[in-house]
């Protein structure tokens, strides 16, 4: 945005404020401003949790257009990392990237306590599961002991994201369309159904709060975001909505075709 445009916007905002004050009157206007100030002071807090290597950081990067470092081989995040994102010019969202669990016998005890401490202080818990790995005993244990010990209210705040569905067998993701191939789509549905059943058994999380996606392919990011907004309840409106565009990863011809579908008149 150029400097001119931005000062234009500020001017517009000032004008609107004056109009609003005239309509509401002094006391009501102050009440409203107080309310806004109060809400801004408490940004919604999103904790991103899950086992080691499930793609917590990648998910944050794609959901919020960030550029945090990703580790592909060995241990990644060691300490919880909180970042504040701007939603509008001065409304913020706190995203907490947690160290992965289950990585090693020794480190786990410390991380476990860290998770338990954090739970009561967040508005949304995004629990990420690696959908192309089939072992779920650790997820069940952690979810049961960390997440489900809370009240029903706590459970409502949980979204379970099944990440990396693009790697589910037979593993023939359609690179050109950036979309699952038909037989992979069948596997994805079966795999995710199995995971949902195994996790629901333990956690009593509502099936609508379990969403499959692929952060790397930007596949179904909107569905994850929607579930998070729902889970955040009263604070849902404060969550940022824009994510990375999956079409950008498709073939350029596919992108062009998709544009003509959106704007048929230009064709």
């Amino acid at each position: 945005m150029s400097r001119n445009q931005s000062s234009d916007k500020k001017g517009q905002k000032k004008g609107l404020r004056a109009k609003l004050a005239a309509v509401l009157g002094g006391p009501k206007m102050r009440e409203l401003e107080d309310l806004i100030r109060k809400e801004r002071a408490i940004p919604p807090r999103i904790a991103v949790m899950g086992k080691a290597g499930v793609g917590k950081t990648t998910t944050i990067n794609e959901l919020f257009n960030m550029d945090w470092t990703i580790s592909h081989a060995a241990a990644g995040t060691r300490e919880p990392r909180t970042e504040y994102f701007d939603l509008t010019s001065d409304v913020k969202v706190a995203v907490i990237d947690m160290p992965g669990l289950g990585e090693d016998l020794d480190a786990d005890i410390k991380y476990f306590a860290m998770y338990q401490d954090l739970m009561p202080n967040v508005d949304v818990v995004l629990w990420i599961v690696q959908a192309n790995a089939r072992d779920l005993s650790e997820d069940q244990r952690i979810l049961k002991e960390v997440v489900s010990t809370g009240s029903r209210e706590t459970l409502k705040r949980v979204v379970i994201g099944l990440n990396q569905v693009d790697k589910i067998g037979p593993g023939n993701w359609d690179e050109k369309l950036n979309y699952p191939s038909p037989d992979q789509a069948v596997s994805i549905a079966r795999r995710c159904h199995d995971i949902s059943e195994k996790l629901a058994e333990i956690t009593r999380v509502d099936p609508e709060q379990i969403v499959y996606y692929s952060a790397r392919r930007r596949f179904r990011l909107a569905e994850i975001k929607q579930a998070m907004i729902h889970a955040a309840g009263e604070k849902g409106w404060k969550l940022p909505v824009r994510s990375s565009n999956p079409l950008e990863l498709a073939d350029s011809e596919v992108q062009e075709f998709a544009r003509t579908l959106r704007n048929p008149k230009k064709d």
Partner: protein, 191 residues
């Protein structure tokens, strides 16, 4: 042995020309699969018994349910082939199971770790032309092997050289795996 979904059955099917059932979505090996096979490429030809097990860590309490089968599988085994999915980073279930199994392994049991599905390793840009890991994947692979070696060495004795990267889907690392297996079989057996 190894976690569910690591590719155990797919690998033994490919290595020994078997046709045991596999599934890309859910766990399907529920009991021990056993077969006597020969390695025709070797002189003299080997006859070996292959025992394929249900995967570990599928769900809470399933490891206990399968425990007797695991016991039966490893007792007296000349080689324990352990599968670990390369694009995952959760070692704890493997550590716990290997620790529990170690008293059952004999001095001469040779542990080989198959680092499977390396084509899926980050950043996921497998070299299709030469059918091998990309430069970036190769660098990550070295780190991965170090990490896996460090984590498993806490509970069992394991040579770093006994960790073999492979991708059954791409037909990568199969001959290295067979060589390692034959080497393990040639170790003097204690009876």
């Amino acid at each position: 042995m190894g976690k569910t979904g690591a590719g155990k059955t797919t690998a033994v099917n490919r290595l020994f020309g078997l046709d045991w059932q596999t599934d890309s979505a859910v766990a399907c090996t529920r009991e021990l699969n056993q077969a006597l096979v020969s390695l025709p490429s070797q002189e003299p030809s080997y006859r070996i018994q292959v025992v394929d097990t249900p995967g570990i860590a599928e769900s809470q309490h399933m490891d206990e349910y399968y425990w007797e089968q695991y016991e039966q599988a490893v007792l007296g085994a000349a080689v324990l082939l352990w599968f670990f999915q390369a694009d995952t980073r959760v070692y704890k279930p493997d550590q716990l199971m290997l620790k529990k199994l170690s008293p059952l392994l004999s001095e001469s049991t040779c542990l080989i770790v198959c680092l499977s599905q390396v084509d899926n390793m980050g950043p996921g840009d497998w070299d299709i032309v030469q059918n091998k890991p990309s430069h970036a994947q190769l660098a990550n692979l070295e780190l991965k092997i170090d990490d896996l070696h460090e984590k498993l060495s806490k509970v069992v004795r394991l040579d770093r050289a006994s960790i073999i990267p492979c991708s059954i889907k791409c037909g990568f690392g199969l001959s290295e795996m067979l060589d390692m297996l034959v080497g393990g079989l040639n170790e003097p057996q204690s009876i």
